[in-house]
Subunit: 338 residues, 2 copies
């Protein structure tokens, strides 16, 4: 496992360095080879040099590394998260990381949200008409190719089946966004026929969000396009008990290259106070271990992190009165004792 580590901005610069010792400890215990480099991409570099995603990075990264760990991007000094868009969306698109897996872990079970990551409104197609320096027409296009939707749907259905999931829900909005909705429905229905183990259902995104908030327990697997996936994974995080808990993996099924990132942002309001929650980053590390076939250390990490989160040294956002460091001490001690 050769990892490019990008702490990024705000609390990313706290939770990533805090969480990494857990990974090194696990790799030592389990005898797994691990190497990583820390890259300084983020707001400071952008403001100093104007560079977000360095030239050629998209080509270089997969030659040197197997995966990226990204903390968070976003800085109050940079409008619209311009650097974050360049880096994060640049990596997702440039490296074909088209499957974004965001597990929502609830008492009632786990909902595996699979979000398409590179198409639809995230394809970056669009433009603005300006007159006398101000925009008169703004256009952003949701563009999907059948081939891309097919690859995505097939991969996700296979993962859901292999993980023993039984139900899968397609979230769309065919009644108002018809071209997109119909393509997704068509692909979903066709691909599903090859997976008799899975029972499929379809829901409009508004109704789905309504039901998710009211009672998430019936859902198991969810397939969703990029923009709706962004929204429903944040709702999922709210149901989990906070953005500090939600982890995600962006994967290219063909190259196996992957990027792991917490769902939370850079949280400028609590950055620098030493109280940011490394839970989501630790869960990203567990997803990373899983991804490379190391299920045992992944499960151990999850067990210890969950145990630590129930204690008093947990960070304030999840009801403890600990700091980032105190929480990590607990996690590392638990890892040591197991």
């Amino acid at each position: 496992m050769r990892i490019a580590v990008i702490p990024g901005d705000g609390i990313g610069k706290e939770v990533v360095p805090a969480a990494l010792p857990a990974l090194t400890a696990l790799c030592e215990t389990f005898g797994l080879p691990l190497s990583y480099d820390v890259l300084d991409w983020g707001a400071d570099t952008w403001l100093a040099t104007g560079v977000g995603l360095p030239d050629g990075a998209v080509e270089r990264l997969p030659r040197t590394y197997d995966a990226v760990l990204l903390g968070a991007l976003g800085d109050p000094r940079i409008p619209d998260m311009a650097h974050g868009r360049e880096i994060l969306l640049g990596l997702r698109r440039g490296l074909d990381l088209y499957v974004n897996h965001r597990p929502v872990v609830l008492d009632s079970g786990v909902i595996d949200i699979y979000r398409e990551n590179t198409q639809g409104l995230y394809a970056g197609v669009g433009g603005s008409v300006t007159r006398s320096g101000s925009v008169t027409v703004a256009i952003d296009e949701s563009v999907h190719t059948r081939a891309a939707v097919e690859d995505f749907v097939r991969y996700c259905l296979r993962r859901l089946r292999d993980d023993g999931r039984r139900k899968v829900t397609l979230v769309h909005k065919s009644n108002a966004v018809p071209n997109t909705g119909r393509l997704w429905q068509d692909v979903f229905r066709r691909e599903l026929t090859a997976f008799p183990e899975l029972t499929g259902s379809e829901e409009y995104v508004d109704a789905f969000c309504y039901h998710l908030v009211r009672d998430p327990s019936p859902y198991e697997g969810v397939l969703v396009s990029s923009l709706f996936g962004d929204i429903i994974s944040d709702i999922g995080a709210a149901l989990m008990g906070g953005l500090g808990l939600a982890a995600g993996a962006s994967v290219c099924p063909e190259t196996h290259f992957a990027l792991f990132e917490p769902v939370h942002g850079s949280a400028p309001d609590i950055a620098g106070k030493g109280i940011a929650n490394p839970y989501a980053t630790l869960m990203c590390l567990a997803l990373m271990l899983d991804h490379f076939g190391h299920g045992a250390p992944a499960d151990l990490l999850r067990t210890c992190v969950r145990e630590a989160a129930r204690g008093a040294t947990a960070t304030p956002d999840i009801g403890g009165h600990g700091t980032t460091d105190l929480f990590m001490d607990t996690v590392l001690t638990l890892l040591d004792h197991h």
Copy 2:
């Protein structure tokens, strides 16, 4: 008040006839002139004749009526709600009903969601590329003109100020859908300068949904484009205690023509059982009375409906064990006694 009444499909055909006697009773008590015609638009007509929105209806309606009351559209026999799209989106677009007001009534206060209704992904711009009969590329475009966003934002800010609201939040996604996001931000910031009574803030739609689910109490006014507004108003309904409670008005500020419709759908699962909740339709009637300047009967209706909803004759979805008719009996008795 000359009303075109479209019960529509499913529970629409139950809640609309059930709720109307409350309007007639109030109009008698307060001496307000009222007339209405019931139009049979909906799934049955579509299936029998192929007609959703009759030719010329968009021109005729505002000549004959002042407003539309719409129950619900949607039928399991019609994929993608094709008839509903033609009727509902046809009326919203054709009659320039570009302001969709959906109040979210919570114990902590009311959130006035103002959703743009005719632009963005609801403009109906897009298409599909097909090959050998199957779609290979699907495109739906989010298109906004500055003029339309300005008219919408200005009208909503004026209403919020006149209603004594103090805070207004713009919900957008400028970090991933940049052309749209930037136009909205630009217009919002400029227009806001003319409203010193209002404090503005801006949130990404994912973060907004997260915060809304965690704690809706800080929000007062919300301005949002069509697609995000669809989602957040359903989340709002979930927080209110159910889709059966959420009402909405779609208004053209220039002509004053308006369409009132519950946020809920046709609910085929409970249609025909006599247990559909007319609460949202009654709240639509209150919004209608407000719209025509009849604040006193509107408030009286709201008071009686809320009182009825707390009793045992409320419908099962809100914890009672009544039927649609029993609930309406309570409402009408309360109206009579006040």
